[in-house]
Amino acid sequence: MSPARLGAGALLAAVTIALAWHPGRATSTTIHGAAAGDVRAIYLADCGVCHGAGGRGTTRGPTLVGVGRASVDYWVSTGRMPLGDPRLSAVDARKTPARHRPRYSRPVIDALVDYVVSFGAGGTDIPRVDLRAANLAEGGELFRAQCAACHAWAGDGGALLHREAPSLHRATATQIAEAVRVGPGLMPAFGTAAVSDRQLDSVTAYVRYLDHPKDRGGNPLWHLGPVAEGAIAWIFGTGILVLATRWIGET
């Protein structure tokens, strides 16, 4: 092998390794094990920078006093909090944090919820969802009336003014119910006046159903809706029609 080739090979290998190697990011490691003392340390390290040591909020982040269990559990269990890099999302108020793998294990999240709630009473408790009591058809009606305008008819999310509504496909039943009751970020909160507890079960069941909908029409075309379906129908349908017309016109 010539020296030039050897050099090129070595360079390629070096670039490949450099591209494949990520320095250990804080966001991709899950913290396990929790004792009361640890939770305070975790809070101060990951949350206190923006929300303040006592959760009263700073210029970088809102207060956590009285936000309630459902809100804390939603933000932390969906991995939206803590922010990977506070400078990115907190500075740009137009950016709502996106869903990530949760930073903490379940026991740590529970301990963190307890810790944050100890700052002050108030807010919504974590809703108890009973999917066995759900009425899927009613849930579908509620979804189309209350949720589909932002999250799109198949729960894939959609565009708002300068913002976007997230996809619902990876949310657990509890997270869906929490989001409805709490209204995280841009989303309005839906209290019992808007969605009763029984209706909440139904709409949650419907959102879970949207993960694996029964596509009776065959290929769902990525659930994009009438635009994709119309494009396929026009391109293939008119193509076949043109060919057929040519064949009929032949003499």
Partner: protein, 282 residues
């Protein structure tokens, strides 16, 4: 075309029709077995394609092919006919006889014009001032779509409920969005409307002033109501003033008050007509 080619074409067309029969049989079988939408669709397509193939083959191969020309017949009228026409023309009766027809036609047109007015009457009673009002009356409670009265405590901060006048759940022009603003101090009241939004509960007509779509999207963080049809955006804190999109007029505000039992009630109707701004606004 030879006898043999013709027989072959005949068989091909018949085979096409045969395919249709088979596909229809298959369709019946699949349907009776419980059905499978995609397979049924395919069989139906094959059935139609069989008929189409048969027809086209029949038309192309077995029908007489053109172009076919026909000689023109003799155009001028015969001598006696022409003489008779000239005689009629000179007598003058031929054309005046049409006067009856013209009058009858005039009568028919007039009658049709009169009949055309009937649908205008059938449009129904005159709307009068009803378009300027909704079912909202002073003291009416706000209810949800299924008729439950809205308790203020059941609307969380940053919350949103679609509300209707009590007794008119589902009313198209009476529907309104009730929002509970987290920080009531940020609401900029219009003159004379200071007490229309108690404790940050504020309600606006849900009918977009642009094209009448339901303004159902609420961005709680930015306090903006969005219309899903054309992205008209209204600032809830500033009298639902349009801040983006094609809507030109603010959403009419519903005056609210909180009754001692904790229910929300209307202080009266919307101060201006709801919906698209196509008629005069005060």
């Amino acid at each position: 075309m030879t006898q043999r080619e013709e027989r072959r074409a005949e068989r091909a067309a018949a085979a096409g029709f045969g395919v249709t029969v088979l596909a229809c049989g298959g369709l019946a079988y699949v349907y009776l077995q419980g059905g499978q939408a995609q397979l049924e669709g395919l069989l139906l397509a094959v059935a139609f394609a069989g008929v189409a193939y048969g027809f086209v083959t029949w038309g192309q191969k077995l029908m007489p092919q053109g172009p076919v020309s026909e000689d023109r017949h003799h155009l001028p009228s015969t001598e006696p006919e022409r003489e008779r026409f000239e005689a009629d023309l000179e007598r003058g009766g031929v054309l005046t006889r049409r006067r009856l027809l013209v009058r009858a036609l005039g009568a028919a047109v007039v009658a049709l014009g009169g009949v055309a007015l009937f649908p205008i009457r059938s449009l129904g009673p005159r709307p009068g001032t009803s378009l300027a009002h909704t079912p909202w009356r002073r003291g009416m409670r706000l209810v949800t779509e299924d008729g439950r009265p809205v308790r203020a405590a059941d609307v969380p901060r940053g919350g949103l409920v679609t509300v209707f006048p009590e007794g008119h759940a589902g009313s198209a022009d009476g529907q309104a969005v009730l929002v509970r603003v987290e920080d009531p101090g940020r609401i900029r009241h219009r003159p004379g409307r200071d007490d229309w939004s108690p404790h940050g509960y504020i309600a606006y007509s849900k009918v977009c002033t642009h094209a009448g779509c339901p303004v159902g999207l609420y961005q709680a963080e930015t306090h903006q109501l969005l219309c899903p049809c054309h992205q008209s955006t209204f600032d809830v804190l500033d009298g639902a003033r349009p801040v983006f999109g094609p809507a030109a007029a603010a959403l009419p505000q519903l005056p609210l008050r909180l009754d001692p039992d904790g229910y929300l009630r209307a202080r009266g109707d919307f101060p201006e007509p709801v919906g698209p701004a196509y008629w005069h606004r005060a």
